[in-house]
Symmetry: C2
Subunit: 292 residues, 2 copies
């Protein structure tokens, strides 16, 4: 039977591979179970490989099926993005670029980038999403993201990294706090305060750096609260629940009842880096590359 493999087969295969249950997969696909069974069987015949082990009571993937699932996930992602890009290009757009970023990057580097790119390529569309370091790395690896703005010491193989901004750290205090620029000499002056920090799973490098800043001055901070949003942290500081240490550039763009005091004489820097995949196939990336 000289059948031909089609995307339909792949779609059905993935549904069964995920559900590991023919009827549930069929429901999800809005087709009948026998129809699904036949298509899967046909697919196995076409490529000549048993993909599922049916134990009459349990369905599981073979090793080959496992491999195929992983690749087909990637292939579908690529096809979807390609069609999306094709539509954008057709509409006269220069395409879309998908950017992930830490909140702090929104204060400095990202707005600059958007403005510069927009001047040159007014038809490039941006898809911006705030997300953690970890999720950005994952997004880049899975080709679901073109650029990421992270604070990381190193990234997995296959991902490129380049520093785009080096920032100092600032102490964040309630507006009515007794410390001022003139009488602020040393971070140890707040060693007895409670600290509010970014969660370590949002950015573990950040977390470690804050710890080392304090340790260098001879104390371990009492961490009372953690959050993933700068705004939340500021609100907590404003409410008198503690103090915080954050990258200095975060003081712009918010209108809150806190004050920033740049921490003098410390070696730690808040480095922001872009990450990307070397052989990203999004043509937009080449265009905007020189703006980084």
């Amino acid at each position: 039977m000289g059948y031909q493999i089609e995307l339909r087969h792949f779609t059905y295969f993935l549904a069964v591979a995920e559900e590991l249950h023919f009827r549930k997969a069929a429901d999800r696909l809005f087709i009948s179970q026998p129809g699904l069974s036949r298509q899967i069987k046909q697919m196995e015949e076409i490529i000549g490989v048993t993909l599922f082990i049916r134990n009459k009571r349990k369905v599981s993937l073979t090793v080959a099926g496992e491999y195929l699932k992983k690749e087909l996930d990637y292939i579908f992602n690529h096809i979807d993005f390609t069609i999306k890009q094709t539509r954008l290009i057709d509409k006269g757009s220069d395409g879309e670029i998908r950017i992930g970023f830490l909140g702090s990057a929104m204060q400095t580097i990202i707005p600059e980038l958007l403005i510069k790119v927009n001047e040159q390529y007014s038809n490039v569309q941006f898809s911006l999403e705030e997300m953690s370091n970890h999720l950005q790395v994952e997004g880049i690896e899975k080709d679901q993201l073109d650029l990421g703005f992270v604070r990381l010491a190193r990234v997995p193989k296959g991902i490129q990294m380049k520093t785009v901004h080096v920032d100092t750290f600032s102490l964040v205090l309630p507006k009515n706090h007794y410390l001022e620029e003139k009488n602020f000499k040393n971070i140890a002056q707040v060693s007895d305060q409670h600290f509010i920090l970014f969660s370590s799973d949002y950015s573990s490098l950040y977390y470690d750096k804050i710890m080392s800043i304090c340790e260098d001055k001879g104390f371990t901070p009492k961490v009372s609260h953690k959050s993933v949003h700068a705004q939340t942290i500021f609100k907590l500081v404003e409410s008198g629940l503690g103090v915080a240490i954050v990258p200095t550039s975060l003081q712009y763009g918010f209108d809150l009842g806190v004050k920033f005091l740049e921490i003098p004489k410390i070696s730690q820097k808040a480095t922001l880096s872009v990450i990307w995949k070397q052989d990203n196939r999004n043509p937009v990336l080449e265009k905007i590359w020189r703006f980084l």
Copy 2:
């Protein structure tokens, strides 16, 4: 009409995009022209993009179509390879790895690699093809090759390179030539001879190095013949048509009427490098990586 895009559409689209002629494309696909026309039209409707400009006398791709063609070429290549790998895994094989190499790599590094990998993973299949530096780089870029063994100073972005073997150069002479190991001091002793070299388009770095070896000794070689095959070069030397300079390791594995004299006191080295793409998706590559 809630149609669904299928690989069939992609196949047909690529045929028309290549032929730029509906009837010819239809012939190639062994279907009728109206059938093809309708499928293309349907595809355009599904993704909502005009892919071809039909001037009633000439068919051409739109910008969006051009982009789509490039990506679909890549996607089909990926799908084909994935299915091939799936079949191999199913057969108990650990998959296939596609290696390109310069002839000279077959003397040293490649046989070693094959033996070592085979000990550990007896089910990994090798696809070996001798090809020029240039074609290897192209193969790597298009994901049609997993590893390349080249002699290059640098490679395009997105491709990784690592030196695996550093070799000296040897002078190749007919067996009855008056120069012997004892009376061979300097390459200038053959400055009046004709030279037979590898073609510069087979390996331009090699070509440049040979030239610089001679220039360092104060002469420009008279190049009388060029070839892409070591065997041919040796045959020409044997026939008395000239002398050659090649990487020393080439002396093993051939049984020819020529003799090798290692060239003393020169700075030039014949460096052989592996090249690969960082995010190659062939799982076999990871496995054999440590053997390099």
